[in-house]
């Protein structure tokens, strides 16, 4: 039974804060999915529902058609790796031992190879590890669990760039050998975006975007040229942002351009280029603060 994920109109509150406000999302099994959102947008809340650490106040969560809450068999197949999480007095070997007990799919040999690759000392207490090594231990536990749904909640944030790239390589290589659902939330959008088959963007507890990564990329277009020509071209379409340099204006458009529109732009002497995913994300979620304050 493949573990498709289906959330329907899910609400989750912490006191007066509405962390998830009617979020609906379907994820097919065995894809690598990037989960993007600003701080406080509800990414961690969403993942803790899937890991059944919480139950929604309203709406339904289904994994492989089942309600995951207090379903121990299902939960042994779902892993959520946060930034910290382990008991700080344990040492690395203890953490691996309990992971092995918890997870029927645990691969101890792979865990050992990963610890060597990330140079994590085995005998040290978690509390005495550097932030980067703690993150590497988290990544190791997440990968070696081989859980059918594996979620990394900014796990690799504390790793330096070479270690992060080593993590991306390992993630991809192991995914190719053992396809499974991977949900990765990150602020390093651009460096990892090419690994994502799909991108989910949530904002203020709601789903903003969910599509194939290439489709999401194609939604952002940058139009650059003389200000008046740019304005004529962008009249009546959604403009996410504008920046001026002298009389040159760069406008960020939302929506895919038809070949006809592209031709018009060329004839008007405008430069057309795609927007990096990170920029698109920034534009789409930038008004959060304004509206809240």
């Amino acid at each position: 039974m493949s573990l498709d994920i289906e959330l329907t109109d899910v609400h989750l509150r912490y006191g007066s804060t509405e962390a998830l406000a009617g979020l609906s999302l379907r994820l097919e099994a065995d894809t690598i999915c990037g989960l993007l959102g600003r701080n406080g947008s509800g990414k961690t809340s969403l993942m803790s529902l899937l890991a059944s650490l919480r139950r929604p106040d309203a709406g339904t969560v289904r994994i492989g058609g089942r309600d995951p809450f207090e379903d121990a068999e299902l939960m042994s197949r779902v892993a959520l790796i946060g930034e910290g999480g382990s008991d700080p007095t344990d040492n690395v070997a203890d953490v691996l031992r309990s992971a092995a007990l918890l997870r029927p799919s645990w691969d101890a040999g792979y865990a050992a190879r990963l610890l060597d690759r990330f140079e994590v000392p085995r005998r040290k207490a978690i509390a005495s590890l550097s932030r980067g090594k703690r993150a590497a231990l988290g990544v190791t536990c997440g990968l070696a669990a081989r859980a059918e749904i594996t979620m990394f909640d900014e796990t690799h944030l504390g790793m330096d760039a070479p270690s992060r790239y080593a993590f991306y390589d390992e993630l991809l290589a192991d995914y190719l050998e053992h396809p499974r659902t991977v949900i990765l939330s990150t602020h390093h959008v651009e460096e990892v975006a090419s690994l994502f088959a799909q991108v989910v963007i949530i904002d203020r507890g709601r789903l903003l975007v969910h599509d194939d990564t290439d489709e999401v990329r194609a939604r952002g277009t940058q139009v650059t040229g003389p200000a008046d020509a740019v304005d004529r071209f962008t009249a009546g379409v959604t403009v996410l942002g504008r920046r001026d340099l002298g009389r040159t204006r760069a406008a960020a458009l939302y929506g895919t351009l038809t070949p006809e529109r592209r031709r018009q732009a060329r004839e008007a002497g405008l430069d057309i280029g795609p927007m990096p995913l990170q920029d698109l994300f920034v534009h789409l979620t930038a008004d959060t603060e304004k509206e809240q304050s």
């Binding site: 790239y165 991306y168 390589d169 991809l172 190719l176 090419s194 690994l195 088959a197 280029g273």
Partner: protein, 124 residues
């Protein structure tokens, strides 16, 4: 992180790389191309993206699938690709060049003279 630029979707860039390889003779008709997984691992991209590039090339008749074995270059792929790139040449290479020449004030007669000189040199 992949050596791809932001100018177009990655799957299109992969498809173009394979096409260029065929046009240059680095990939010959009936030769097997790398698998989606090999592409994914090599370029650090999701295998679904690599699969999308292959699917496009299959749809265009550039590659064909042998079930259970893999992807192969179609016998007529070089001819097909040359024909398609010829169609694109004027719109994508020549017209922008003419526009650039106009923008920086190079008379078209100068451009034509230069092309004729190159042709004479090549003929020798």
């Amino acid at each position: 992180m992949t050596g791809f630029d932001d100018r177009s979707p990655i799957y299109l860039q992969i498809a173009e790389q394979i096409e260029t390889g065929i046009l240059r003779g680095e990939l010959r008709p009936e030769e097997q191309v790398m698998s989606t997984n090999q592409y994914a691992a090599h370029y650090r991209i999701n295998p679904a993206t690599a699969a999308k590039a292959f699917q496009r090339l299959v749809d265009d008749g550039v590659l064909y699938k042998k079930r259970g074995i893999g992807m192969f270059v179609s016998p007529d792929a070089p001819d097909r690709l040359r024909a398609r790139r010829r169609e694109r040449f004027f719109a994508e290479v020549l017209e922008p060049m003419v526009a650039e020449a106009a923008a920086i004030g190079i008379p078209l007669d100068d451009v034509i003279r230069r092309i004729e000189r190159i042709r004479e040199e090549d003929a020798r």
